[in-house]
């Protein structure tokens, strides 16, 4: 079937009134920029185009709710960007439910995010809310010149520093968290410990939390119970 035929067929099945069919099909074709492949066979198209044809079929009857399951799966980076742009552009007219394992995609496109673990909703809220909810102290990465193992011992004796550990031994890279309440004095104490101990500071970075962390946390929290 050709692209236009396939979309028209779906429009008919979805009971789009026959006088509005042509208009609806054209609208869907334009929304997904399928104009260039309008008369080509669907079977001969690339995966990205086929995904878009399927998308056009889904919106041709102007549904109130759209459920998308991994809409960018199997697409190249260019097509992913286009698909995200499209989903965002549809946001006003349709309620869109999107499921995905790619969390950056979720963070970029969704207004409300839910994390589901073993069939239960474990987290729900806007991106900012979720980030805040996973707050268990600010995460820092610290790179030193030598003796990282001794530094771990030194850091754990400082009040307010949580879970210091080495994450990359060959790079002498450590990570630790600082409890939100006493951030500044604790950081001073850490800096002092590094300099006094002669570890040789190379790099200290503040790590912003990502959705991955929220996701990981909400899953591990559940499985411990």
């Amino acid at each position: 079937m050709k692209v236009e035929e396939a979309i028209t067929f779906t429009a008919k099945l979805r009971k789009v009134p026959s006088d509005k069919q042509k208009e609806a099909v054209n609208k869907a074709i334009n929304a997904l920029s399928l104009e260039s492949v309008r008369n080509r066979l669907v079977g001969n198209l690339s995966k990205g185009f086929r995904q878009r044809v399927a998308f056009a079929k889904a919106i041709v009857h102007d549904p109130e709710v759209l459920i998308l399951d991994e809409p960018t799966e199997g697409l190249d980076p260019n097509q992913i960007a286009q698909m995200r742009e499209l989903i965002r552009s549809l946001k006003g007219d349709h309620t869109i439910m999107l499921s995905s394992h790619i969390l950056s995609e979720v963070a970029n496109t969704c207004d409300i995010i839910m994390i589901i673990h073993k069939g239960k909703i474990v987290q729900k809220g806007t991106y900012e809310e979720l980030i805040k909810s996973a707050d268990s102290g600010q995460l820092y990465h610290l790179k030193v010149g030598r003796k990282p193992k001794d530094l771990v011992g030194a850091l754990s004796s400082i009040a307010g520093v949580l879970h210091p550990n080495i994450i990359a031994e060959e790079e002498n890279l450590l990570e630790f968290r600082i409890d939100g309440a006493s951030a500044d004095p604790t950081l001073d104490a850490v800096a002092k410990a590094v300099i006094d101990g002669g570890y040789g500071i190379r790099e200290l970075t503040v790590k912003t939390k990502s959705l991955e962390e929220v996701f990981f946390k909400s899953h591990t929290k559940k499985s411990k119970i």
């Binding site: 079937m1 035929e5 067929f9 779906t10 008919k12 099945l13 979805r14 009971k15 079929k57």
Partner: protein
């Protein structure tokens, strides 16, 4: 009705857009042509020899009967090939979801698919009328027998297609659909030969013979149209379309 025709039209068109319809036409018409050529040759030979042997020469009606009778074998190979893809293919490439989620009933899907393949076979049958037309042009056959034979064959095809649809609706695997359909249709054809050996009970024997399609078809080949035999084929097709409807309907909720 709109949805049925939409589905039927799409399936009908896509069969002719792919080599599928061409393959069906080729094999059906070629097999029928081979049979036709053979029967005409042996008929002429028998007619030439009849005066010498003192026996009665076979007539054209017997040739027509033999020709259509052999179509039954051809159909057992061709019908499963048509029906095996109807649901199995759509399930495989996921396009079946579109049908399942559309605001139409399962019965509309089933009838749409059935109409499409019945339509294809009707066109094949029309094309195959070239052979009986030869007889009409060069001989003097009873045209009524040709009409009733075609009616019988078409009813048989409808029943076989409905059975094939039912098998196809239950599997994603086309090979499975093909084998099960072919075996089922074969059993249906030979059941009346096997019936006497399968059971000693007269009642069951006649019941098995009734289920077999062969004897009902013979009535049409003799030039008769009886309500009982039309009812057999219509019921047969109706029952299996109904089964298909149940299968498809239940799959919506899984």
């Amino acid at each position: 009705m709109g949805a049925i025709l939409t589905i039927a039209k799409r399936d009908f068109k896509s069969a002719f857009a792919s080599p599928k319809a061409a393959a069906i036409f080729f094999f059906f018409l070629m097999t029928m042509g081979l049979f036709f050529y053979n029967f005409v040759a042996s008929l002429l030979e028998a007619q030439a020899r009849a005066p010498m042997m003192g026996g009665q020469a076979p007539n054209l009606e017997e040739l027509i009967r033999a020709l259509f009778y052999n179509l039954h074998f051809t159909l057992i190979l061709i019908i499963p090939a048509i029906t095996m893809a109807t649901f199995a293919e759509e399930k495989k490439n996921q396009s079946f979801r579109i049908l399942q989620t559309a605001p139409i009933t399962a019965l509309q899907i089933v009838l749409g698919k059935f109409l499409a393949i019945a339509g294809i076979m009707a066109v094949v049958l029309v094309a195959s009328s070239i052979y009986p037309l030869f007889l009409v042009k060069y001989g003097n056959p009873d045209s009524g027998v040709i009409y009733t034979s075609y009616l019988g064959i078409f009813l048989l095809i409808c029943g076989q297609l409905a059975f094939g649809l039912w098998v196809s609706s239950m599997t994603k695997n086309q090979i499975m659909a093909f084998i099960f359909t072919m075996f089922g249709l074969f059993m249906l054809m030979v059941l009346n030969w096997l019936a006497p050996n399968l059971t000693g009970n007269d009642f069951f024997e006649s019941m098995l013979k009734y289920i077999a399609s062969t004897e009902h078809l013979d009535v049409f080949f003799k030039g008769l149209i009886t309500i009982a035999d039309i009812a057999y084929f219509v019921l047969f097709a109706g029952i299996f379309l109904f089964f298909t409807n149940i299968v498809i309907d239940s799959q919506r909720w899984r």
